[in-house]
Structure formats: C-alpha cells, structure tokens
C-alpha cells in the first residue's frame, strides 16, 4: 500500500506543468503561512519553496551575508538561477527578519521575472490581528485581480475555502493517525509534504487513499517529537529509523505547525484569517513560549513520546530564542531532548548522526 502511494506522488515540476496545461497559473510561495484558498480561487496553484536543498548557493551568497539562514539563501539562489521560472508569481509571506529581507531585496534590487508579492502575517492572533489580516487578504485579492484579470465571486471563494478545509482536516487526521499507518517516517513525510504543492483535490484523494488502511496496530520504534522548521535533508528521517526511533508527532514549521482548523466566519476573508491565525502556537505569530511548551507537552502526552529532537536550521534566530526554555521545560517533566543544527544544503553530518544515535541509546 505504502509503496504504491509513494510512487503515485508526482514531482513538483510535473504538477506545475499539468496545472498550467489546464489553464492555471503557479505561485511559488515562501514560508510559512499564506492563504491557499485565495490563490486557488484565482486558479493559481501555490507551490511552496522551503529552500530548496540542492541548489548552487553561490548565487544567493552574493547578495545575503553568511549569517543568513540557508532557507533564505537557497531560495534566492533558486530564483536567480531560474529554478522558479515556471512560477507566474512569487509570494513572500512575512515570517521573520530574514524572509522580510528577502522580500525586500526582490522588490528593490533583484526583481524576478514574475511579480513578487509580500504579505504580512500579524504577530497577533487576537481580534485586531484577524481584522488586519483579513484586510491584508483583501489587498492581495485586488493584486491578484490585476495579475489574472479575474474577479472570483464570494461563492467561488467559499468553495475554494471549503475544499482547502477538507484537505486540512485530512492532513490533521494523517498526523493524528500516523502511528498506525504503517508508513515509515520517510514515506509519511513524502506523502504529507505533497500538501506543499498538490492541488487540494489531489491531496484529498491521496490522503483518503492512505486513510483507508490497512492499519496494523502501533508502529515499532522509540517515539519522539521532532521540532524545527523543515525535515531537510530528508535523510534525517531514515537516520532516526536506523537508530530505532520514530517520529510520533512533529512541531515542524512546514508540517505540524500548519494544521489549520476550519474557520467559522461567514465572511470569506475573515474566515481565511481566522483559520490561518488559529493554528498551534508558534513564534511567527508571537505566541508565548509557555503556549509552545504546553503544546509540546500535549503532544507528548497523547503519543507517549519519550524524547524530543530540536532540528534547527543554522542561524534561525526565532527558533534559537525559544530553544533553552523549551528544552528546560521538557527536561522538568523528564523528557530528554537534543538539538541538531543543519544547513539545508548539506547532507546529515556524521556528527549529527552520532548525536542522534547517542540520543536513542540514552533513551533506551
């Protein structure tokens, strides 16, 4: 079952090509939060760019300093080397100072072929944050109208929102049921990360095919929590399996921190804002560290995880600020933790592998 599913996942370039053949447009979208439903209402397929890992980094390094994280540097390299030429627009959600800088450089100094559109995600999930974000989405709507010469009606928008909500709900179920899915961690992430680029309707099909089973009880391996930004290089997941571990739940910016709950507002813009700002706590919305810690503890309680790996992209300052409190907090409830720092361009280092091995030995 699993092999069939994995091999049926098309590559990003293939998905983009097919979508465009059917008259759609493609948006390359940088991390982290953005309105999928709004883009799809304009028949634009969002295709997320988390780096990517394998690019010639020298192009980006000519424009950003060495102390800027590899996600930003690689994304810039990818754009400059034509890696995103397939995209009709580039969207840069505001998540941190480095992504803010990237968006600004693209607008001011290195304009890509396509329109570059920044959006600001508020550091505030209270009512005023929601109102601002809904207005920001309305502004985006106007910009997309200019680009596509289309004006999707509220009905089209609501239909698109509902479709994305179904996909999000299935993604959440996949996360919750991962322990019994009989997928290796590597295969699980290959599947769920297809949400980063598959049209919602295709992802729904994929998720449903996985969720029909067969289920074969609980998986083997020492359950742990994986926290960080992105599981790249994905060899990490094989390394964890190799040393007898398995990821029971994750707090990754590209995965578990984006299990969007459905909105309830009748206004489509407010509904999208409500959903995006309603996800689990993370720094990029200014959530208190205690909320993040409580969230991790809930994950541990519900999965029986015996440890946590903080898998950080080098120079990711927001993650680094929270790290000591999170590690201390988990330590206080007897959960061992370790940190691995990576540059997404590099393979897993032998030092990191040794650290993971030692971590599982310690838990055992």
């Amino acid at each position: 079952m699993t092999t069939e599913n994995i091999f049926s996942i098309p590559r990003r370039s293939q998905v983009a090509r097919q979508f465009k053949q059917h008259g759609g447009l493609v948006a390359a979208v940088l991390p982290i939060h953005y309105p999928r439903a709004l883009l799809r209402a304009f028949n634009i397929l969002p295709m997320e760019v988390w780096g990517p890992p394998q690019v010639d980094v020298s192009y980006g390094a000519a424009h950003v300093q060495p102390y800027v994280c590899s996600i930003v540097r690689n994304a810039l390299s990818f754009i400059l080397t034509g890696g995103l030429d397939v995209a009709d627009l580039i969207m840069i959600p505001h998540a941190c100072d480095s992504l803010q800088g990237l968006g600004s450089i693209l607008l001011d100094f290195l304009p890509p072929k396509q329109p570059a559109i920044p959006i600001y995600v508020p550091r505030n999930d209270r009512k005023e944050g929601e109102i601002f974000f809904a207005e920001e989405l309305q502004l985006l709507y106007a910009r997309l109208e200019e680009i596509t010469q289309k004006s999707p009606s509220d009905e089209v928008l609501v239909e698109s929102i509902r479709r994305e909500e179904i996909a999000d709900e299935l993604l959440t179920r996949l996360h919750k049921q991962r322990g019994s899915l009989q997928l290796t961690d590597y295969d699980f992430y290959l599947n769920i990360r297809a949400r980063e680029y598959l049209p919602a309707e295709d992802f729904i099909e994929l998720a449903q095919s996985i969720l029909v089973g067969p289920f074969d009880g609980q998986q083997d391996g020492i359950p742990i929590i994986l926290s960080g930004i992105v599981p790249e290089p994905m060899g990490l997941l094989k390394t964890i399996s190799q040393f007898g571990g398995r990821v029971a739940a994750d707090d990754l910016a590209c995965c578990g921190r984006r299990l969007y709950p459905p909105g309830s507002n009748q206004d489509p813009f407010l509904r999208m804002a409500e959903s995006i700002l309603g996800v689990s706590p993370d720094w990029c919305r200014g959530s208190p560290i205690q909320d993040r810690l409580d969230h991790l503890q809930r994950m541990i309680d519900s999965t029986g995880a015996q440890g946590a790996i903080f898998y950080n992209v080098k120079f990711c300052e927001p993650e680094l600020f929270d790290l000591p409190d999170l590690r201390r907090g988990l330590g206080e409830i007897g959960i061992p933790t370790t940190t691995i720092e990576i540059d997404i361009s590099d393979p897993i280092s032998s030092q990191a592998m040794t650290r993971i091995e030692a971590f599982f030995e310690m838990i055992q």
């Binding site: 000519a62 424009h63 950003v64 300093q65 102390y67 800027v68 505001h94 941190c96 100072d97 480095s98 803010q100 800088g101 990237l102 968006g103 600004s104 450089i105 607008l107 001011d108 100094f109 290195l110 920044p118 600001y120 508020p122 550091r123 505030n124 209270r126 005023e128 944050g129 109102i131 601002f132 207005e135 920001e136 502004l139 720094w283 200014g286 208190p288 560290i289 205690q290 080098k314 120079f315 300052e317 927001p318 680094l320 600020f321 929270d322 790290l323 000591p324 409190d325 590690r327 201390r328």
Partner: protein
C-alpha cells in the same frame, strides 16, 4: 515607601549621588581636557558631562525604581510616551546592553546567557541582557525588575522573540505593538489602523499595571517634549552638513543616549538645546571633530560599541571624519510624524515609518540623500551579525553606491556588542585599503 526609605531615596538620588557624580565627572573632564592626547580628534563636547549626568542619574534612580513607581522595559522603537505619561520608570534593555558593550564587559555577561543555552547566533544585545538576568552582572549597578514589557516590532522581529523570553522569565504582561513592514514607499491605511488599534488596546493594560488612568493632557505634554527633543536632535546632526563637521558620528553615538532612553523628559530637551548651542559655537569658530578634515563618510547600521575610539582614531589619522549615519538619523527623521494634535495616530505613524520598518530600497535612498546633503566621499556599511534587518540588503546597497554614485563603499563585518566577531587585523587591513581607495 515609608518615610525613612523616602528620605534615603532623596538623599541618595537627589543630593549625595548627584554631588559625587558631578564632582567625579568634573574631575574626569578636567583631566581629560587637560590631558587630551589625540592630535587628530577634537576634545569631547563640553556638554558631554551633562549627558553623563543625565544617564547616570537615570540609572541611579533605577536602583530605587521598584520602590517608587512601576517599571517598564521597552524596545527602542516603542511608543514610550504612553508609559511616560503613566509615570513608569523606563528601562531600555538595548541601551543597557550598549553600555555593557562600551564598557567592554558585554562578552563576560553574555557568556552567562550562552551557558544557559542561548546560541551565539542570536542578537548580542539580547544575550547581554539575558546574561544580566541570570548573573546580576551589570555596569549600572542594578536593573530594576519590570512590571510591564512593551515590544514594538518596528526595529526587528528579534525584539518579539527576546521579550517573549523576558515575559516568561518575569511572568509579567507583555504588550506587543506589531507594525507591518512597509515594503513599498507608503504603508497601507489598514496597516496604520492596525497599529492604532493595538495602541488603543495597550492603554488599558498599561493603566491596569500602573494603577492609574492615562490623562490626555499629560500624554500631550510628553508627546510635545518628545517632538521637541527629536527636532533638536535632527538639527544637531544636520549641522554636520557644515565643513568641517562639528561633531563626528562617533560623538553622536555617545550623545544619543537621552534621545533613546529619555524621550519625553524636559531635561532631555534642555540637554539637546545646550548641545545645539555648543555645536553652533564650534561651527562659528571653525572647529571640526577631526582636525584638518579632508574626507567625509557615512556610517550605516549600529555602532561597534567596543571599538568606537579605535575607528575614530584610525580614520582621524588620515583626516577622515564619519559625519553622517543612517542610525543616528533614525532618531531625528521621525520628528515630522509627531503631531500632538493628532494624538495616538501620530504615534502609530511614527512607529510605522521607522527606517528599520521600511524596505531595503528606502534605506538606499536615505543613504543617497545623505551623500548629497552632507557631501560625502564614501560609505562604511557595518555588516552587523547581530542585526539582520539592518544588514540584509547591504551587499546590493553597496554595489549600487559604487556603481551609481561612484562612491567607495566598504562592507565591514563585525557585531555591535560581541567583540569575538571583530577580527582586529582583518578590519585594520580593510580599513587601510578603504582609506587608500578614498585617497585616489
């Protein structure tokens, strides 16, 4: 505070402390002026003692602040006027960290934070302040415990992450004023309204902690004083359009402390009025910050606090003065936004249009304008490892300055507070090569 404590406070803060302080400052000034050894740099401004007096008394009051009033820790771009009007004693952790940097004790202090797990890849100001929290080490004697935190994202997102750590550490309310980044030339109306709504929401929280209500008249008065001080500061730094420049940017870095941490105080207005007067006297007498000024530079980004004198001396030897800076300019350029009659809206605009909350292209335009207005010969861009929002974009800004303005521009790798990131020999070589280029 009981009567004995109150008397002790007045004796220490208003009588004994200032007397000792003034005597020691006077003594140091006399010694420094008589023994001023630099053949290339003008002696410090006479008004410097007043700056030291203001700053030291501020920290002296800090010793007793928890007994006398509510204390707020705030970020440097925050609308502090709201808290001033509620009589909070204000601490700027960034300023405190800079003091540690200038006193060259920052690395010892930040090591304490690193031992507690904070990575060397996070802002060295934050690490310095965490180090003080964990160890109590500080050159200012004691930091009063905060009752409230106010962080405004207009200078960086880092302050948000930093203050979340403080909020957890102290278990106190954190007010976040989130200012959407201005990518284009103008902020959108809904972004300004968002900031305004947050300011309105912040007031009841600040009032609750302060235990008093905000009086409109008091806020207007504080706003008026802020505006006056900001305008004076802008006038002072614009005096450097004269040749020779009366004060260097290195002087400005030192003299900017009150505009950052005492904005809204009458004493700050008086101080900058006196400073402007002295600067004008220097202009009248033809005194330049660098003797025999031949070349004039722009400084971009934060200072390298622990090497201010070194850089001034190195360049001064060659008759080179740093006369303008995007950093010191940032504290003056917002003056037009302070419109007392527009109330909170003017604070929302001032918060939103801070240079660090605007795009990389805007910063380039600011530099280009300053090059023209100050008739500059070159630019030093401090690529500050600890300040990503200020530094990202500098590589392209440098290239444009060289190509489009034909101005030599140097990217100098360092860190504003962590001297372990300052490669002495490499910096000296790069500065020497830059000086040669300027001479061509």
């Amino acid at each position: 505070m009981n009567l004995v404590d109150s008397l002790r406070y007045h004796w220490n803060v208003n009588i004994l402390g200032p007397s000792i302080l003034r005597f020691s400052i006077w003594l140091r000034e006399q010694t420094a002026r008589r023994g001023w050894k630099s053949g290339n740099l003008a002696p410090p401004l006479k008004v410097s003692w007043r700056n030291k007096d203001l700053v030291t008394r501020h920290w002296l009051r800090g010793h007793y602040a928890n007994q006398r009033s509510k204390v707020a820790w705030v970020t440097s771009g925050a609308p502090v006027e709201l808290l001033k009007a509620l009589d909070y004693y204000i601490v700027y952790p960034e300023n405190h960290a800079a003091i540690c940097g200038t006193a060259r004790v920052a690395v010892d202090i930040m090591s304490e934070a690193e031992e507690a797990g904070y990575s060397q890849d996070i802002c060295s100001y934050a690490r310095t302040d965490f180090g003080t929290l964990f160890s109590g080490m500080t050159p200012v004697g004691k930091l009063p415990r905060p009752d409230l935190l106010l962080a405004c994202t207009n200078i960086c997102q880092t302050v948000l992450f930093w203050y979340r750590v403080l909020a957890r550490h102290f278990n106190i309310p954190l007010i976040v004023i989130d200012t959407p980044f201005v990518y284009q030339s103008e902020a959108s109306e809904h972004a300004v309204q968002f900031v305004l709504r947050q300011l309105e929401e912040a007031i009841p929280v600040a009032e609750r902690v302060a235990g008093k209500s905000l009086e409109e008249r008091r806020l207007e008065e504080v706003g008026r004083l802020s505006k006056l001080a900001t305008e004076l500061w802008l006038e002072i730094i614009e005096r450097n359009q004269h040749r020779p420049a009366p004060i260097s940017v290195i002087d400005q870095f030192i003299q900017m402390a009150p505009i950052v941490e005492m904005r809204g105080d009458a004493a700050t207005v008086d101080f900058y009025a006196a400073m402007l007067k002295e600067v004008d006297e220097r202009i009248a007498k033809g005194i330049g910050a660098v003797k025999g000024e031949r070349k004039r530079l722009l400084w971009d980004n934060l200072p390298i606090w622990y090497r201010l004198r070194y850089i001034a001396e190195f360049l001064g030897e060659h008759g080179i003065a740093i006369v303008a800076s995007t950093y010191t300019n940032a504290w003056g350029e917002l003056a037009p936004f302070y419109k007392v009659e527009r109330g909170l809206e003017s604070f929302a605009l001032a918060c939103t249009y801070v240079i660090l909350n605007r795009g990389t292209g805007h910063k380039l335009k600011t530099m280009q304008r300053m090059i023209e207005e100050y008739r500059l010969d070159g630019v030093i861009l401090h690529s500050d490892r600890s300040c990503k929002p200020y530094s990202i974009g500098q590589m392209d800004q440098r290239d444009r300055l060289i190509r489009e303005h034909e101005k030599p521009a140097l990217l100098l790798e360092a860190d504003h507070n962590d001297f372990r990131c300052f490669a002495e020999e490499q910096v000296a070589n790069r500065l020497a090569a830059f000086v040669e280029m300027l001479e061509r």
